[in-house]
Symmetry: C2
Subunit: 527 residues, 2 copies
């Protein structure tokens, strides 16, 4: 498996991700996406939004601001409760995140330890500063929200916070959104946007950043209808293992079986919660993740966030071990009730059936880090090819930053470059393409493979007489000859995975590999 | 013309934009985009990115973090120089942005006044607090950057800033981007992202916000090649006035003539600067802006930013007057030289021709506020129809949040709803669509028109026997009958504006109205 150091080096070299402000020595926990990285990141967000919002009838989107009224964060509990435990060296003043220090020194899981547990550990195990070996002081809570002042006065009343999660904007805007978008339960509100946490120990490249991006849904249901999820059976059965672009195996992964069993045995309380776990798993698999690389895990009582009734994580096998990819919490009506209390506003909905006002429950909150998803798709795609002696980035075509590269066989023959450039201009009308004339075609293939371009098109002397070109497949290196007239259409079909390369060098029709249409649980909610 | 109050009310009612944290009374200068607004905003960003990055060979993108190493903002001059003048009431302590106060009280332009000018005005004109009428104190500079602390220590060394512009990330990453993306001059680096300014007086809805979003390009050229812009003639000639979806007039707008004349008379120094002014104008016009609603204006010496050699604004006629839509500054090599000085790093490029190292010049920095563009497209689209007695949002199809609405004629006839829902599911595979069964078809047309849905599709009893449906055009209310089999393709053509509605109710082929391909100035820069 690729190491995180290899990935970091690769990302810098190929323009995917750089440390922020590298010329000034960087700043821990902040990264900049380069020319190739920004396209991959945008594609991940676009695919998420299409799947979770635009192709569903029961989810609408918002885009809230990063700085909100500070009472939002008092109501949510973040001002009082959103903290990690910090411990300092009594001599050199170095500061550590206590649970991470304990995990590193004692090699145990410390995520569910309380503040007094931690102080107990430090005393009894006689833990020392890892830098100067002096004794550690008393551990204390450290709030992770970045704080600033809004307006010309810099006093207590002007304090505001950078949001530590996008979720609260969905709650604060709940009533306005439900009314203006005419939402009927069950329905979700989705958002993609930056969030900020002043992590004591940012680490593992894009895994734990101080500035990161979230893709979140708050899914609201009628409080009495936790059991009415008509599509649960279908979503649990639906599985398609795309192990590579060549082979497809239908089956049910271990993860799906775990979810089904947990539901069967009432370990997951609501089928809606299970539905979203399975749906999220499907999304990653649909975009090329090996389903066996994702597992589910229920939070133990001590590690649940203050708002959560029940939380399940999707975990991914990162290069540094199995870690949280996505947390899916059942937040019940905690947040809406908190905002009702703090704002004095009526945030209930009117239930036509019972003629009563109800406060909906958030049965699931699928919450994915964009940067973690980026890391996952990179890990899945990264393959050092011994045969080719370089890295091939086998990204799903929908995620590939550049969809096609166009090469004139020789760069100094005008009849070739003119035709090639014309083809390039036509193609980039429909999708991102690259025009490359530099070095041998082999060198150009290598450059294209390294940034995951699915198809390379070469224009040679035969192209002028026969009016056709070569398309080469990134993963198999197979080539076929296609008439220029059909090129655009063939590329579209290839990118949509309607057709594929056979080893023999011919195109074949693929089986339909998306069933997301029928995932839609709520065909008639927003009439 | 629509007033800003009307727009604000409309935006809230239809789910486009809300004041942030409205349930807590809002927070000045911060807004949340609702379900329809987020789609429009995303479409604007997508269209900008496609036009400025993906369809050009000479521009690459990045996505830098909002918080950067603080030295970035020392080098850029923002820590010392990015301020407005603040003045407080000596009695009630109310604070004002001094230039705005002077403009409001004296009805003169105050944007080029210095701090001592302002204090002079306050004394000689005897200006008073607008709230309690007491005397004003001494005015002073107020830095507009939001400040926070990064890491567990909250001391001087931990100070960091929320970026007040996206631009600096392009400079700080300049060398890494140029190398990894193999850029050759002239080339641009583009970025879309949030920026923050602690405005003393946020105002005019989305026009002056404290948290806003920018779409920026830094366009780098060889310092000795300011005059080598081969495409300037073409871009100045290229104009197509799309006054409505029905009528198109080719011609040259007053704005284009102004740019051409300024270049001719050396008022604009570099054809590259003129090229970008014209290109930006083209982008807005391409997406439906009346070219006569945009004008250009050169900054006078006093109002230029500290980094600018020459700045031109594109101004738009907002409901509150002609205001800056987009500033296009010639930043010369100011920023790169500052970062070279502060980082000690070599940020020069090697010039193959002269075999010398050169520090490129930023000849133009097309910088648009996403939110201002949103406001512009809203103003252009907003039309109260007397005939229909409601607002029709005549957005360009590429910007429309929802592309098509699907209505079964009656909601209680299963043969209709089943067919209609099937059509809806097919359509939303390709683009955002809405399914609506509530109320009369007339009421549903109204709801669709108000959020700018270009085409409504009605499924009636004839649809079952004849296998065809009605498509209705938002702007003309004309209707045509189309076979269900051809629906998808026709909709695609309509949305791409390849075909249009004739009054008579037939579809006709439209003239090609985009020439952006040939805008590309640098066909061979990234080989």
């Amino acid at each position: 498996m690729v190491t995180v150091e290899e990935l970091t080096t690769f990302c810098k070299k190929k323009g995917l991700v750089f440390a922020n402000s590298e010329i000034y020595g960087g700043i821990a926990g902040f990264f900049d996406y380069g020319p190739i990285g920004v396209e991959l990141k945008n594609n991940i967000k676009k695919e998420w939004w299409t799947y979770h919002v635009q192709q569903r009838q029961d989810v609408v989107g918002i885009d809230g601001s990063i700085i909100a009224h500070p009472t939002v964060w008092i109501a949510s509990g973040h001002v009082n409760g959103f903290s990690d435990v910090l411990v300092s060296c009594t001599k050199c003043n170095e500061r550590f995140r206590a649970d991470v220090l304990i995990e590193d020194l004692l090699n145990i899981s410390a995520s569910s330890l309380t503040l007094s547990d931690i102080n107990e550990f430090i005393r009894t195990k006689n833990l020392k500063c890892t830098k100067c070996k002096s004794p550690l002081g008393e551990a204390s809570a450290f709030n992770l929200m970045f704080q600033t002042f809004v307006g010309p006065k810099q006093d207590k009343d002007a304090i505001a916070y950078l949001r530590p999660e996008t979720a609260q904007l969905m709650f604060a805007n709940f009533k306005l959104v439900a009314e203006t978008a005419r939402c009927k339960l069950p329905f979700g509100i989705a958002q993609i946007g930056k969030a900020f946490r002043n992590e004591i120990s940012p680490r593992n490249f894009l895994f734990r950043m101080r500035e990161f991006e979230q893709m979140e849904i708050e899914y609201f249901i009628h409080p009495d209808k936790h059991d009415e999820c008509p599509f649960i059976k279908h979503v649990l059965e639906y599985e398609l293992l795309i192990l590579s672009s060549e082979s497809q195996i239908k089956g049910t992964s271990a993860t799906k079986m775990t979810i089904a069993a947990a539901l069967e045995n009432n370990i997951i309380q609501s089928p809606w919660h299970a539905y979203w776990l399975a749906t999220e798993h499907n999304w990653f698999v649909k975009l090329g993740c090996n389903p066996e690389h994702i597992r589910v895990r229920q939070h133990v009582t001590e590690e649940k966030a203050h708002y959560a009734k029940d939380t399940w994580d999707l975990e991914y096998e990162f290069p540094f071990g199995w870690k949280e990819l996505q947390g899916i919490a059942d937040r019940s009506d905690y947040d809406l009730q908190q905002h009702i209390k703090n704002s004095g506003k009526d945030l209930s909905l009117y239930d036509e059936e019972t003629k009563k006002k109800i406060v909906p429950h958030v049965v699931a909150e699928p919450s994915t880090g964009v940067d973690r998803a980026f890391l996952l798709f990179l890990c899945e795609a990264y393959l050092y090819s011994k045969e080719r002696d370089y890295v091939v980035l086998r990204l799903h075509p929908a995620l590939a930053p550049v969809k096609a590269a166009i090469f004139p066989l020789l760069s100094n023959k005008e009849e070739l470059t003119k035709l090639a450039h014309k083809i390039y201009e036509d193609i980039r009308e429909d999708f991102p393409a690259q025009y490359d004339t530099s070095g041998s075609v082999g060198r150009r293939y290598a450059r294209a493979d390294e940034i995951g371009i699915p198809y390379c098109i070469t224009i040679d002397f035969d192209s002028i007489t026969n009016k056709d070109v070569t398309i080469r497949d990134r993963d198999t290196a197979s080539q076929i000859r296609v008439p220029i007239k059909q090129l655009q259409q063939r590329l579209c079909q290839l990118l949509k995975q309607e057709i594929a390369f056979e080893k023999a060098g011919v195109l074949v029709k693929k089986e339909n590999n998306t069933q997301h249409n029928s995932d839609d649980p709520t065909s008639n909610t927003q009439n």
